[in-house]
Assembly symmetry: C2
Homo-oligomer: 327 residues x 2
Protein backbone atom coordinates (compact mmCIF):
# COMPACT_ATOMS: atom_id res chain seq x y z
CA UNK A 1 0.00 0.00 0.00
CA UNK A 2 1.33 3.42 -0.97
CA UNK A 3 0.66 6.45 1.18
CA UNK A 4 0.40 10.20 0.91
CA UNK A 5 1.14 12.62 3.70
CA UNK A 6 -1.48 15.30 4.35
CA UNK A 7 -0.57 18.42 6.32
CA UNK A 8 -3.19 20.93 7.40
CA UNK A 9 -1.65 24.18 8.61
CA UNK A 10 -4.05 26.33 10.64
CA UNK A 11 -3.70 29.38 12.84
CA UNK A 12 -3.93 27.30 16.03
CA UNK A 13 -2.95 23.75 15.09
CA UNK A 14 -1.08 21.82 12.49
CA UNK A 15 -2.55 18.42 11.73
CA UNK A 16 -0.86 15.69 9.79
CA UNK A 17 -1.57 12.10 8.84
CA UNK A 18 -0.79 9.35 6.40
CA UNK A 19 -3.58 9.07 3.86
CA UNK A 20 -4.14 6.21 1.45
CA UNK A 21 -5.51 6.60 -2.07
CA UNK A 22 -9.03 6.02 -0.81
CA UNK A 23 -8.80 8.84 1.75
CA UNK A 24 -8.39 6.61 4.81
CA UNK A 25 -6.28 8.21 7.54
CA UNK A 26 -3.52 6.55 9.55
CA UNK A 27 -1.43 7.89 12.41
CA UNK A 28 -3.12 11.27 12.64
CA UNK A 29 -1.40 13.75 14.95
CA UNK A 30 -1.89 17.37 15.90
CA UNK A 31 0.59 19.87 17.24
CA UNK A 32 0.19 23.48 18.24
CA UNK A 33 1.33 26.11 15.72
CA UNK A 34 1.78 28.61 18.51
CA UNK A 35 4.25 26.45 20.47
CA UNK A 36 6.89 27.25 17.82
CA UNK A 37 8.63 30.55 18.20
CA UNK A 38 9.40 31.69 14.71
CA UNK A 39 9.73 30.44 11.18
CA UNK A 40 12.80 28.19 11.47
CA UNK A 41 11.52 26.35 14.53
CA UNK A 42 8.19 25.74 12.85
CA UNK A 43 9.77 24.40 9.65
CA UNK A 44 11.99 22.09 11.73
CA UNK A 45 8.92 21.01 13.65
CA UNK A 46 7.03 20.12 10.47
CA UNK A 47 10.03 18.18 9.08
CA UNK A 48 10.54 16.11 12.23
CA UNK A 49 6.81 15.48 12.65
CA UNK A 50 6.59 14.17 9.08
CA UNK A 51 9.68 11.95 9.50
CA UNK A 52 8.38 10.69 12.78
CA UNK A 53 4.90 10.04 11.37
CA UNK A 54 6.35 7.94 8.55
CA UNK A 55 8.70 5.86 10.72
CA UNK A 56 6.22 5.40 13.57
CA UNK A 57 3.91 3.66 11.08
CA UNK A 58 6.67 1.30 10.03
CA UNK A 59 7.08 2.99 6.64
CA UNK A 60 10.01 4.43 4.73
CA UNK A 61 10.20 7.73 2.84
CA UNK A 62 10.38 5.95 -0.50
CA UNK A 63 6.97 4.45 0.21
CA UNK A 64 5.45 7.93 0.29
CA UNK A 65 4.04 9.20 -3.02
CA UNK A 66 4.07 12.81 -1.98
CA UNK A 67 3.29 15.38 0.67
CA UNK A 68 0.32 17.70 0.29
CA UNK A 69 -0.05 20.83 2.39
CA UNK A 70 -3.00 23.15 2.87
CA UNK A 71 -2.14 26.58 4.25
CA UNK A 72 -4.17 29.72 4.92
CA UNK A 73 -4.21 32.62 2.45
CA UNK A 74 -3.02 32.79 -1.15
CA UNK A 75 -0.17 30.36 -1.89
CA UNK A 76 2.25 30.69 -4.80
CA UNK A 77 2.02 27.09 -5.92
CA UNK A 78 5.14 27.17 -8.11
CA UNK A 79 7.41 27.22 -5.06
CA UNK A 80 4.81 26.41 -2.44
CA UNK A 81 5.31 29.87 -0.99
CA UNK A 82 3.05 30.67 1.95
CA UNK A 83 2.89 34.46 2.27
CA UNK A 84 1.84 34.87 5.92
CA UNK A 85 1.04 32.80 8.98
CA UNK A 86 -0.90 34.75 11.58
CA UNK A 87 0.81 33.35 14.68
CA UNK A 88 4.37 33.23 13.32
CA UNK A 89 5.46 36.88 13.08
CA UNK A 90 8.70 36.33 11.10
CA UNK A 91 6.93 34.13 8.54
CA UNK A 92 6.98 36.21 5.35
CA UNK A 93 7.02 34.74 1.84
CA UNK A 94 8.42 31.36 2.91
CA UNK A 95 8.86 28.86 0.01
CA UNK A 96 7.71 26.02 2.22
CA UNK A 97 7.26 23.59 -0.68
CA UNK A 98 10.80 24.02 -1.98
CA UNK A 99 12.29 23.80 1.52
CA UNK A 100 10.44 20.63 2.53
CA UNK A 101 11.15 18.92 -0.77
CA UNK A 102 14.87 19.51 -0.27
CA UNK A 103 14.85 18.44 3.36
CA UNK A 104 12.68 15.35 2.93
CA UNK A 105 13.42 14.20 -0.61
CA UNK A 106 9.73 13.61 -1.34
CA UNK A 107 7.55 15.56 -3.82
CA UNK A 108 5.73 18.38 -1.99
CA UNK A 109 2.68 20.34 -3.13
CA UNK A 110 1.27 23.34 -1.26
CA UNK A 111 -1.98 25.20 -1.86
CA UNK A 112 -4.56 27.31 -0.10
CA UNK A 113 -6.54 25.43 2.58
CA UNK A 114 -9.95 25.90 0.99
CA UNK A 115 -8.59 24.94 -2.45
CA UNK A 116 -7.38 21.62 -1.06
CA UNK A 117 -10.66 21.13 0.77
CA UNK A 118 -12.48 21.65 -2.56
CA UNK A 119 -10.26 18.96 -4.10
CA UNK A 120 -10.95 16.60 -1.21
CA UNK A 121 -14.71 17.09 -1.52
CA UNK A 122 -14.69 16.62 -5.31
CA UNK A 123 -12.58 13.43 -5.12
CA UNK A 124 -14.01 11.83 -1.99
CA UNK A 125 -16.84 13.91 -0.54
CA UNK A 126 -20.03 15.81 -1.32
CA UNK A 127 -18.75 17.09 -4.65
CA UNK A 128 -17.82 13.68 -6.06
CA UNK A 129 -17.91 13.81 -9.84
CA UNK A 130 -18.78 17.52 -10.11
CA UNK A 131 -17.26 19.31 -13.09
CA UNK A 132 -18.09 22.82 -11.90
CA UNK A 133 -18.30 23.43 -8.19
CA UNK A 134 -17.85 26.10 -5.54
CA UNK A 135 -16.80 24.89 -2.11
CA UNK A 136 -17.17 27.38 0.72
CA UNK A 137 -16.34 27.34 4.41
CA UNK A 138 -18.37 29.31 6.89
CA UNK A 139 -16.41 29.96 10.06
CA UNK A 140 -14.25 32.71 11.53
CA UNK A 141 -13.61 33.66 7.94
CA UNK A 142 -15.57 32.76 4.83
CA UNK A 143 -13.40 30.97 2.28
CA UNK A 144 -13.94 29.49 -1.13
CA UNK A 145 -12.39 27.07 -3.60
CA UNK A 146 -13.42 26.57 -7.21
CA UNK A 147 -13.42 23.48 -9.41
CA UNK A 148 -14.10 24.66 -12.97
CA UNK A 149 -14.16 22.44 -16.04
CA UNK A 150 -12.95 19.62 -13.81
CA UNK A 151 -9.86 21.44 -12.58
CA UNK A 152 -8.91 23.45 -9.53
CA UNK A 153 -9.24 27.08 -10.63
CA UNK A 154 -6.49 29.20 -9.05
CA UNK A 155 -6.54 32.50 -10.94
CA UNK A 156 -3.76 34.66 -12.34
CA UNK A 157 -1.95 35.16 -9.04
CA UNK A 158 -3.21 32.03 -7.25
CA UNK A 159 -5.66 34.15 -5.25
CA UNK A 160 -8.99 33.01 -6.71
CA UNK A 161 -11.95 31.67 -4.78
CA UNK A 162 -12.45 34.45 -2.25
CA UNK A 163 -16.21 34.08 -2.01
CA UNK A 164 -16.10 35.67 1.44
CA UNK A 165 -15.07 38.95 -0.12
CA UNK A 166 -17.77 39.28 -2.73
CA UNK A 167 -19.68 42.45 -1.80
CA UNK A 168 -23.42 41.94 -1.41
CA UNK A 169 -24.33 45.53 -0.65
CA UNK A 170 -23.20 48.98 -1.78
CA UNK A 171 -22.85 50.19 1.82
CA UNK A 172 -22.44 48.01 4.87
CA UNK A 173 -20.25 46.86 7.73
CA UNK A 174 -16.49 47.13 7.48
CA UNK A 175 -14.72 43.87 6.57
CA UNK A 176 -11.36 42.51 7.75
CA UNK A 177 -10.11 42.72 4.15
CA UNK A 178 -10.32 46.52 4.19
CA UNK A 179 -13.48 46.71 2.09
CA UNK A 180 -17.04 46.65 3.39
CA UNK A 181 -20.32 44.81 2.93
CA UNK A 182 -18.51 41.62 1.86
CA UNK A 183 -20.27 38.30 2.56
CA UNK A 184 -17.80 37.71 5.42
CA UNK A 185 -18.60 41.09 6.99
CA UNK A 186 -22.15 39.80 7.52
CA UNK A 187 -21.68 36.10 8.20
CA UNK A 188 -18.18 35.58 9.62
CA UNK A 189 -18.43 34.05 13.12
CA UNK A 190 -17.53 37.21 15.02
CA UNK A 191 -19.93 39.34 12.97
CA UNK A 192 -22.81 36.94 13.66
CA UNK A 193 -22.02 36.90 17.37
CA UNK A 194 -21.58 40.68 17.50
CA UNK A 195 -25.02 41.15 15.94
CA UNK A 196 -26.65 38.76 18.41
CA UNK A 197 -24.99 40.49 21.39
CA UNK A 198 -26.13 43.90 20.12
CA UNK A 199 -29.70 42.68 19.71
CA UNK A 200 -29.78 41.17 23.20
CA UNK A 201 -28.36 44.39 24.65
CA UNK A 202 -31.18 46.29 22.89
CA UNK A 203 -33.72 44.15 24.73
CA UNK A 204 -34.17 41.13 22.44
CA UNK A 205 -35.61 38.20 24.40
CA UNK A 206 -34.00 34.87 23.52
CA UNK A 207 -33.06 31.54 25.03
CA UNK A 208 -29.44 32.33 24.12
CA UNK A 209 -29.13 34.65 27.15
CA UNK A 210 -30.18 31.81 29.44
CA UNK A 211 -27.86 29.28 27.76
CA UNK A 212 -24.83 31.49 28.52
CA UNK A 213 -26.20 32.34 31.97
CA UNK A 214 -26.25 36.02 31.09
CA UNK A 215 -22.55 36.13 30.11
CA UNK A 216 -22.86 37.45 26.56
CA UNK A 217 -19.12 36.97 25.95
CA UNK A 218 -19.83 33.23 25.93
CA UNK A 219 -22.10 33.38 22.87
CA UNK A 220 -20.88 31.24 19.97
CA UNK A 221 -22.48 29.92 16.76
CA UNK A 222 -22.88 26.57 18.61
CA UNK A 223 -24.90 28.27 21.37
CA UNK A 224 -27.10 30.00 18.79
CA UNK A 225 -27.70 26.61 17.15
CA UNK A 226 -28.52 25.03 20.50
CA UNK A 227 -31.15 27.71 21.08
CA UNK A 228 -32.50 27.21 17.56
CA UNK A 229 -32.85 23.47 18.11
CA UNK A 230 -34.88 24.33 21.20
CA UNK A 231 -37.22 26.38 18.97
CA UNK A 232 -35.98 29.81 19.94
CA UNK A 233 -37.51 32.15 17.37
CA UNK A 234 -34.75 34.73 17.52
CA UNK A 235 -32.03 32.10 16.99
CA UNK A 236 -33.95 30.79 14.01
CA UNK A 237 -34.16 34.30 12.59
CA UNK A 238 -30.39 34.69 13.03
CA UNK A 239 -29.70 31.61 10.89
CA UNK A 240 -32.31 32.60 8.32
CA UNK A 241 -30.66 35.98 7.99
CA UNK A 242 -27.18 34.43 7.70
CA UNK A 243 -28.53 32.06 5.05
CA UNK A 244 -30.09 34.93 3.13
CA UNK A 245 -26.81 36.86 3.05
CA UNK A 246 -24.80 33.80 1.99
CA UNK A 247 -27.50 33.01 -0.59
CA UNK A 248 -27.41 36.48 -2.14
CA UNK A 249 -23.66 36.14 -2.61
CA UNK A 250 -24.09 32.64 -4.01
CA UNK A 251 -26.85 33.77 -6.42
CA UNK A 252 -24.32 36.08 -8.04
CA UNK A 253 -21.78 33.27 -8.34
CA UNK A 254 -24.44 30.92 -9.73
CA UNK A 255 -25.29 33.45 -12.46
CA UNK A 256 -21.63 34.05 -13.18
CA UNK A 257 -20.30 30.49 -13.07
CA UNK A 258 -23.36 28.25 -13.59
CA UNK A 259 -21.93 25.49 -11.38
CA UNK A 260 -23.74 22.23 -10.76
CA UNK A 261 -22.75 22.06 -7.11
CA UNK A 262 -22.15 24.24 -4.08
CA UNK A 263 -20.52 22.43 -1.15
CA UNK A 264 -20.73 24.21 2.21
CA UNK A 265 -18.52 23.35 5.17
CA UNK A 266 -17.10 25.00 8.28
CA UNK A 267 -18.47 25.40 11.79
CA UNK A 268 -21.41 27.61 10.84
CA UNK A 269 -22.64 24.96 8.37
CA UNK A 270 -23.49 22.88 11.47
CA UNK A 271 -26.49 25.19 11.92
CA UNK A 272 -28.08 22.68 9.55
CA UNK A 273 -31.49 22.70 7.90
CA UNK A 274 -32.68 26.18 8.83
CA UNK A 275 -29.49 27.67 7.37
CA UNK A 276 -29.44 25.52 4.23
CA UNK A 277 -33.14 26.11 3.53
CA UNK A 278 -32.59 29.84 3.75
CA UNK A 279 -29.55 29.68 1.45
CA UNK A 280 -31.49 27.66 -1.13
CA UNK A 281 -34.45 30.02 -0.93
CA UNK A 282 -32.26 33.07 -1.59
CA UNK A 283 -30.61 31.37 -4.59
CA UNK A 284 -34.00 30.41 -6.01
CA UNK A 285 -35.29 33.96 -5.55
CA UNK A 286 -32.23 35.79 -6.86
CA UNK A 287 -30.48 33.59 -9.43
CA UNK A 288 -31.64 33.15 -13.03
CA UNK A 289 -33.94 30.23 -13.76
CA UNK A 290 -31.61 27.95 -15.76
CA UNK A 291 -28.50 28.19 -13.53
CA UNK A 292 -30.65 28.08 -10.37
CA UNK A 293 -32.23 24.85 -11.58
CA UNK A 294 -28.81 23.40 -12.42
CA UNK A 295 -27.14 23.93 -9.04
CA UNK A 296 -27.38 21.70 -5.97
CA UNK A 297 -26.46 23.03 -2.52
CA UNK A 298 -25.04 20.34 -0.24
CA UNK A 299 -23.19 20.08 3.04
CA UNK A 300 -19.49 19.16 2.98
CA UNK A 301 -18.92 15.50 3.83
CA UNK A 302 -15.33 15.21 5.01
CA UNK A 303 -15.92 17.16 8.22
CA UNK A 304 -13.14 17.69 10.70
CA UNK A 305 -10.54 15.85 8.57
CA UNK A 306 -11.35 17.71 5.35
CA UNK A 307 -8.11 19.72 5.57
CA UNK A 308 -5.97 16.58 5.89
CA UNK A 309 -7.78 14.60 3.22
CA UNK A 310 -7.80 17.64 0.94
CA UNK A 311 -4.06 18.17 1.39
CA UNK A 312 -3.37 14.55 0.45
CA UNK A 313 -5.77 14.83 -2.50
CA UNK A 314 -3.69 17.74 -3.80
CA UNK A 315 -0.84 15.26 -4.36
CA UNK A 316 -3.11 12.90 -6.31
CA UNK A 317 -4.44 15.81 -8.35
CA UNK A 318 -1.02 17.23 -9.24
CA UNK A 319 0.46 13.85 -10.12
CA UNK A 320 -2.54 13.05 -12.36
CA UNK A 321 -2.04 16.35 -14.16
CA UNK A 322 1.65 15.55 -14.68
CA UNK A 323 0.75 12.16 -16.13
CA UNK A 324 -1.80 13.71 -18.49
CA UNK A 325 0.72 16.24 -19.79
CA UNK A 326 3.35 13.51 -20.28
CA UNK A 327 1.05 11.43 -22.50
CA UNK B 1 -6.79 32.13 -48.62
CA UNK B 2 -9.29 30.24 -46.47
CA UNK B 3 -12.28 31.99 -44.95
CA UNK B 4 -14.63 31.69 -42.05
CA UNK B 5 -18.19 32.98 -41.99
CA UNK B 6 -19.20 35.06 -38.99
CA UNK B 7 -22.88 35.56 -38.17
CA UNK B 8 -24.02 37.97 -35.47
CA UNK B 9 -27.67 37.50 -34.55
CA UNK B 10 -29.16 40.43 -32.67
CA UNK B 11 -32.65 41.51 -31.70
CA UNK B 12 -32.81 44.10 -34.49
CA UNK B 13 -30.26 43.03 -37.12
CA UNK B 14 -28.37 40.01 -38.31
CA UNK B 15 -24.91 40.79 -39.61
CA UNK B 16 -22.70 38.43 -41.54
CA UNK B 17 -19.32 38.55 -43.24
CA UNK B 18 -16.45 36.48 -44.49
CA UNK B 19 -13.58 36.67 -42.03
CA UNK B 20 -10.01 35.58 -42.66
CA UNK B 21 -7.73 34.01 -40.03
CA UNK B 22 -6.39 37.44 -39.13
CA UNK B 23 -9.85 38.85 -38.44
CA UNK B 24 -10.14 40.91 -41.62
CA UNK B 25 -13.71 41.22 -42.87
CA UNK B 26 -14.91 40.84 -46.43
CA UNK B 27 -18.37 41.33 -47.95
CA UNK B 28 -20.07 42.37 -44.74
CA UNK B 29 -23.84 42.62 -44.95
CA UNK B 30 -26.69 43.35 -42.59
CA UNK B 31 -30.32 42.37 -42.75
CA UNK B 32 -33.20 43.06 -40.44
CA UNK B 33 -34.21 40.28 -38.02
CA UNK B 34 -37.69 41.74 -37.79
CA UNK B 35 -38.38 41.56 -41.54
CA UNK B 36 -38.75 37.78 -41.19
CA UNK B 37 -42.07 36.56 -39.96
CA UNK B 38 -41.37 33.48 -37.97
CA UNK B 39 -38.74 30.86 -37.44
CA UNK B 40 -38.75 29.07 -40.81
CA UNK B 41 -38.52 32.29 -42.81
CA UNK B 42 -35.64 33.48 -40.69
CA UNK B 43 -33.69 30.22 -41.03
CA UNK B 44 -34.23 30.31 -44.82
CA UNK B 45 -33.08 33.93 -44.79
CA UNK B 46 -29.86 33.05 -42.95
CA UNK B 47 -29.14 30.12 -45.30
CA UNK B 48 -29.62 32.15 -48.48
CA UNK B 49 -27.67 35.11 -47.11
CA UNK B 50 -24.71 32.85 -46.27
CA UNK B 51 -24.82 31.15 -49.70
CA UNK B 52 -25.09 34.49 -51.41
CA UNK B 53 -22.26 35.97 -49.35
CA UNK B 54 -19.94 33.12 -50.33
CA UNK B 55 -20.75 33.17 -54.05
CA UNK B 56 -20.78 36.96 -54.31
CA UNK B 57 -17.16 36.96 -53.17
CA UNK B 58 -16.22 34.45 -55.87
CA UNK B 59 -15.76 31.65 -53.33
CA UNK B 60 -17.11 28.14 -53.02
CA UNK B 61 -18.48 26.41 -49.94
CA UNK B 62 -15.53 24.04 -49.76
CA UNK B 63 -13.25 27.07 -49.32
CA UNK B 64 -15.06 27.90 -46.07
CA UNK B 65 -13.50 26.46 -42.91
CA UNK B 66 -16.62 26.87 -40.84
CA UNK B 67 -19.50 29.10 -39.81
CA UNK B 68 -19.55 30.74 -36.40
CA UNK B 69 -22.70 32.22 -34.94
CA UNK B 70 -23.22 34.46 -31.94
CA UNK B 71 -26.78 34.56 -30.60
CA UNK B 72 -28.40 36.22 -27.59
CA UNK B 73 -29.08 34.26 -24.40
CA UNK B 74 -27.83 30.88 -23.29
CA UNK B 75 -27.04 28.53 -26.20
CA UNK B 76 -26.83 24.76 -25.95
CA UNK B 77 -23.58 24.42 -27.85
CA UNK B 78 -23.90 20.66 -28.47
CA UNK B 79 -26.65 21.22 -31.07
CA UNK B 80 -26.27 24.98 -31.44
CA UNK B 81 -29.73 25.38 -29.91
CA UNK B 82 -30.83 28.98 -29.48
CA UNK B 83 -33.58 29.01 -26.84
CA UNK B 84 -35.34 32.30 -27.64
CA UNK B 85 -35.16 35.20 -30.09
CA UNK B 86 -37.03 38.25 -28.84
CA UNK B 87 -38.53 39.34 -32.16
CA UNK B 88 -39.36 35.90 -33.53
CA UNK B 89 -42.30 34.68 -31.44
CA UNK B 90 -42.35 31.06 -32.68
CA UNK B 91 -38.59 30.65 -32.11
CA UNK B 92 -38.35 28.19 -29.23
CA UNK B 93 -35.47 25.78 -28.68
CA UNK B 94 -34.30 25.83 -32.29
CA UNK B 95 -31.20 23.66 -32.98
CA UNK B 96 -29.87 26.28 -35.39
CA UNK B 97 -26.39 24.73 -35.54
CA UNK B 98 -27.63 21.28 -36.55
CA UNK B 99 -30.06 22.74 -39.10
CA UNK B 100 -27.51 24.99 -40.82
CA UNK B 101 -24.85 22.30 -40.89
CA UNK B 102 -27.27 19.99 -42.70
CA UNK B 103 -28.48 22.65 -45.11
CA UNK B 104 -25.07 24.11 -45.93
CA UNK B 105 -22.69 21.18 -45.55
CA UNK B 106 -20.16 23.29 -43.62
CA UNK B 107 -19.20 22.91 -39.93
CA UNK B 108 -21.31 25.26 -37.80
CA UNK B 109 -20.64 26.45 -34.24
CA UNK B 110 -23.11 28.52 -32.22
CA UNK B 111 -22.58 30.23 -28.87
CA UNK B 112 -23.81 33.13 -26.81
CA UNK B 113 -23.03 36.56 -28.30
CA UNK B 114 -20.91 37.79 -25.39
CA UNK B 115 -19.02 34.48 -25.23
CA UNK B 116 -17.99 34.86 -28.87
CA UNK B 117 -17.10 38.50 -28.28
CA UNK B 118 -14.83 37.38 -25.42
CA UNK B 119 -13.14 34.93 -27.80
CA UNK B 120 -12.71 37.66 -30.42
CA UNK B 121 -11.15 40.03 -27.89
CA UNK B 122 -8.79 37.38 -26.51
CA UNK B 123 -7.61 36.27 -29.98
CA UNK B 124 -7.50 39.64 -31.78
CA UNK B 125 -8.43 42.48 -29.45
CA UNK B 126 -7.90 44.02 -26.05
CA UNK B 127 -7.59 40.66 -24.31
CA UNK B 128 -4.85 39.28 -26.56
CA UNK B 129 -2.87 36.65 -24.70
CA UNK B 130 -4.94 36.79 -21.50
CA UNK B 131 -5.28 33.47 -19.68
CA UNK B 132 -8.02 34.62 -17.29
CA UNK B 133 -10.36 37.35 -18.45
CA UNK B 134 -13.87 38.68 -18.02
CA UNK B 135 -15.35 40.47 -21.02
CA UNK B 136 -18.46 42.54 -20.34
CA UNK B 137 -20.79 44.57 -22.53
CA UNK B 138 -22.59 47.58 -21.18
CA UNK B 139 -25.66 48.40 -23.25
CA UNK B 140 -29.39 47.69 -23.15
CA UNK B 141 -28.41 44.64 -21.17
CA UNK B 142 -25.21 43.91 -19.30
CA UNK B 143 -23.58 40.72 -20.59
CA UNK B 144 -20.44 38.81 -19.76
CA UNK B 145 -18.13 36.16 -21.17
CA UNK B 146 -15.35 34.37 -19.30
CA UNK B 147 -12.00 33.06 -20.48
CA UNK B 148 -10.60 30.92 -17.65
CA UNK B 149 -7.34 28.97 -17.78
CA UNK B 150 -7.13 29.93 -21.44
CA UNK B 151 -10.51 28.46 -22.39
CA UNK B 152 -14.00 29.80 -22.87
CA UNK B 153 -15.81 28.97 -19.64
CA UNK B 154 -19.42 27.99 -20.33
CA UNK B 155 -20.71 26.44 -17.12
CA UNK B 156 -22.75 23.32 -16.44
CA UNK B 157 -25.74 24.34 -18.58
CA UNK B 158 -23.90 26.74 -20.92
CA UNK B 159 -25.34 29.71 -19.04
CA UNK B 160 -22.21 31.10 -17.37
CA UNK B 161 -20.92 34.66 -17.62
CA UNK B 162 -24.02 36.57 -16.53
CA UNK B 163 -22.16 39.42 -14.88
CA UNK B 164 -25.18 41.66 -15.42
CA UNK B 165 -27.12 39.56 -12.94
CA UNK B 166 -24.70 39.60 -10.06
CA UNK B 167 -26.54 41.35 -7.21
CA UNK B 168 -24.66 44.31 -5.73
CA UNK B 169 -27.19 45.20 -3.06
CA UNK B 170 -29.53 43.35 -0.72
CA UNK B 171 -32.47 45.55 -1.70
CA UNK B 172 -32.78 47.57 -4.87
CA UNK B 173 -34.52 48.15 -8.19
CA UNK B 174 -36.34 45.31 -9.90
CA UNK B 175 -34.36 43.68 -12.72
CA UNK B 176 -35.57 42.25 -16.03
CA UNK B 177 -34.37 38.82 -14.91
CA UNK B 178 -36.96 38.70 -12.13
CA UNK B 179 -34.51 39.42 -9.34
CA UNK B 180 -33.51 42.84 -8.05
CA UNK B 181 -30.44 44.96 -7.37
CA UNK B 182 -28.47 43.18 -10.13
CA UNK B 183 -25.71 45.16 -11.83
CA UNK B 184 -27.97 45.49 -14.88
CA UNK B 185 -30.83 46.91 -12.80
CA UNK B 186 -28.57 49.88 -12.03
CA UNK B 187 -26.56 50.32 -15.21
CA UNK B 188 -28.56 48.88 -18.13
CA UNK B 189 -29.25 51.67 -20.68
CA UNK B 190 -32.91 52.11 -19.82
CA UNK B 191 -32.20 52.19 -16.07
CA UNK B 192 -29.56 54.90 -16.53
CA UNK B 193 -31.90 56.98 -18.71
CA UNK B 194 -34.84 56.46 -16.36
CA UNK B 195 -32.73 57.75 -13.45
CA UNK B 196 -31.65 60.82 -15.39
CA UNK B 197 -35.23 61.62 -16.44
CA UNK B 198 -36.43 61.27 -12.84
CA UNK B 199 -33.67 63.58 -11.60
CA UNK B 200 -34.46 66.21 -14.23
CA UNK B 201 -38.16 66.01 -13.39
CA UNK B 202 -37.26 66.58 -9.73
CA UNK B 203 -35.58 69.83 -10.73
CA UNK B 204 -31.99 68.75 -11.58
CA UNK B 205 -30.32 71.40 -13.77
CA UNK B 206 -28.25 69.87 -16.58
CA UNK B 207 -27.14 70.54 -20.12
CA UNK B 208 -28.88 67.27 -21.06
CA UNK B 209 -32.28 69.04 -21.02
CA UNK B 210 -31.03 71.60 -23.53
CA UNK B 211 -29.43 68.97 -25.77
CA UNK B 212 -32.77 67.18 -26.18
CA UNK B 213 -34.61 70.53 -26.46
CA UNK B 214 -36.70 69.67 -23.44
CA UNK B 215 -37.95 66.36 -24.89
CA UNK B 216 -36.84 63.98 -22.14
CA UNK B 217 -37.89 60.95 -24.20
CA UNK B 218 -34.91 61.73 -26.44
CA UNK B 219 -32.33 61.14 -23.69
CA UNK B 220 -29.81 58.40 -24.52
CA UNK B 221 -26.43 57.39 -23.11
CA UNK B 222 -24.88 59.22 -26.09
CA UNK B 223 -26.64 62.47 -25.10
CA UNK B 224 -25.45 62.06 -21.50
CA UNK B 225 -21.91 61.59 -22.81
CA UNK B 226 -22.21 64.64 -25.03
CA UNK B 227 -23.20 66.71 -22.00
CA UNK B 228 -20.32 65.22 -20.01
CA UNK B 229 -17.81 66.14 -22.71
CA UNK B 230 -19.15 69.70 -22.45
CA UNK B 231 -18.32 69.62 -18.71
CA UNK B 232 -21.83 69.15 -17.41
CA UNK B 233 -21.39 68.23 -13.74
CA UNK B 234 -24.56 66.19 -13.46
CA UNK B 235 -23.70 64.11 -16.54
CA UNK B 236 -20.26 63.47 -15.07
CA UNK B 237 -21.88 62.36 -11.83
CA UNK B 238 -24.14 59.97 -13.76
CA UNK B 239 -21.14 58.20 -15.31
CA UNK B 240 -19.23 58.15 -12.04
CA UNK B 241 -22.19 56.51 -10.38
CA UNK B 242 -22.56 53.96 -13.21
CA UNK B 243 -18.82 53.23 -12.93
CA UNK B 244 -19.10 52.75 -9.18
CA UNK B 245 -21.94 50.24 -9.56
CA UNK B 246 -20.13 48.31 -12.30
CA UNK B 247 -16.93 48.45 -10.22
CA UNK B 248 -18.58 47.02 -7.10
CA UNK B 249 -19.83 44.08 -9.16
CA UNK B 250 -16.41 43.66 -10.74
CA UNK B 251 -14.63 43.82 -7.36
CA UNK B 252 -16.54 40.71 -6.33
CA UNK B 253 -15.58 38.92 -9.55
CA UNK B 254 -11.95 40.00 -9.14
CA UNK B 255 -11.87 38.48 -5.64
CA UNK B 256 -13.60 35.34 -6.85
CA UNK B 257 -11.76 34.75 -10.14
CA UNK B 258 -8.49 36.70 -9.83
CA UNK B 259 -8.39 37.48 -13.56
CA UNK B 260 -5.61 39.45 -15.18
CA UNK B 261 -7.91 41.35 -17.51
CA UNK B 262 -11.37 42.89 -17.69
CA UNK B 263 -12.42 43.96 -21.19
CA UNK B 264 -15.38 46.34 -21.37
CA UNK B 265 -17.39 46.95 -24.53
CA UNK B 266 -20.89 48.01 -25.55
CA UNK B 267 -22.43 51.43 -26.16
CA UNK B 268 -22.11 52.65 -22.57
CA UNK B 269 -18.34 51.97 -22.65
CA UNK B 270 -18.16 54.91 -25.07
CA UNK B 271 -18.64 57.17 -22.04
CA UNK B 272 -14.87 56.80 -21.87
CA UNK B 273 -12.40 58.03 -19.27
CA UNK B 274 -14.80 59.28 -16.60
CA UNK B 275 -16.54 55.89 -16.58
CA UNK B 276 -13.36 53.79 -16.68
CA UNK B 277 -11.70 55.86 -13.95
CA UNK B 278 -14.69 55.35 -11.72
CA UNK B 279 -14.75 51.58 -12.40
CA UNK B 280 -11.03 51.28 -11.59
CA UNK B 281 -11.44 53.34 -8.43
CA UNK B 282 -14.23 51.09 -7.15
CA UNK B 283 -12.19 47.94 -7.86
CA UNK B 284 -9.16 49.40 -6.06
CA UNK B 285 -11.32 50.34 -3.07
CA UNK B 286 -13.32 47.13 -2.83
CA UNK B 287 -11.19 44.26 -4.15
CA UNK B 288 -8.40 42.56 -2.19
CA UNK B 289 -4.88 43.90 -2.67
CA UNK B 290 -3.28 41.01 -4.61
CA UNK B 291 -6.09 40.38 -7.14
CA UNK B 292 -6.73 44.13 -7.51
CA UNK B 293 -3.07 44.64 -8.40
CA UNK B 294 -3.19 41.75 -10.87
CA UNK B 295 -6.16 42.91 -12.94
CA UNK B 296 -6.13 45.43 -15.80
CA UNK B 297 -9.34 47.11 -16.94
CA UNK B 298 -9.34 47.94 -20.64
CA UNK B 299 -11.78 48.99 -23.33
CA UNK B 300 -12.82 46.41 -25.94
CA UNK B 301 -10.96 46.90 -29.21
CA UNK B 302 -13.05 45.22 -31.89
CA UNK B 303 -15.86 47.77 -31.67
CA UNK B 304 -18.88 47.55 -33.94
CA UNK B 305 -17.65 44.36 -35.64
CA UNK B 306 -16.83 42.48 -32.42
CA UNK B 307 -19.87 40.22 -32.85
CA UNK B 308 -18.84 39.19 -36.36
CA UNK B 309 -15.17 38.73 -35.56
CA UNK B 310 -16.08 36.89 -32.37
CA UNK B 311 -18.42 34.54 -34.20
CA UNK B 312 -15.70 33.68 -36.71
CA UNK B 313 -13.19 33.25 -33.86
CA UNK B 314 -15.49 30.64 -32.33
CA UNK B 315 -14.77 28.43 -35.37
CA UNK B 316 -11.00 28.84 -34.93
CA UNK B 317 -11.34 28.10 -31.22
CA UNK B 318 -13.45 24.96 -31.66
CA UNK B 319 -11.28 23.54 -34.44
CA UNK B 320 -8.12 24.14 -32.37
CA UNK B 321 -9.71 22.25 -29.48
CA UNK B 322 -10.59 19.35 -31.79
CA UNK B 323 -7.00 19.22 -33.03
CA UNK B 324 -5.63 19.24 -29.49
CA UNK B 325 -7.88 16.35 -28.46
CA UNK B 326 -6.94 14.37 -31.59
CA UNK B 327 -3.21 14.56 -30.80
Amino acid sequence: MQYLVGVDIGGTNIKLALVDKKANLRGKRTFSTTSFKGKTALINGIVSQIENLISSQGLKKKGIIGIGIGAPGAVDIRTGTVHYLTNIPDWREVPLGTILKKRLGIPVFVDNDVNVMALGEVYFGAGKGAVNMLCITLGTGVGGGLILDGKLYRGSSYAAGEFGHVPINIDGPRCNCGSWACVEAYVGNSYIVKGVVADIRSGQKTLITKLVKGDLSKITPEIISEAERKNDKFAKKVWMDVGNKVGIGLAGVVNLLNMEKIVIGGGVAEAGKVLFDSIKKAIKLRAMKLPAKTVKVVKAKLGYDSGLIGAATLVLYELEKENVSKN
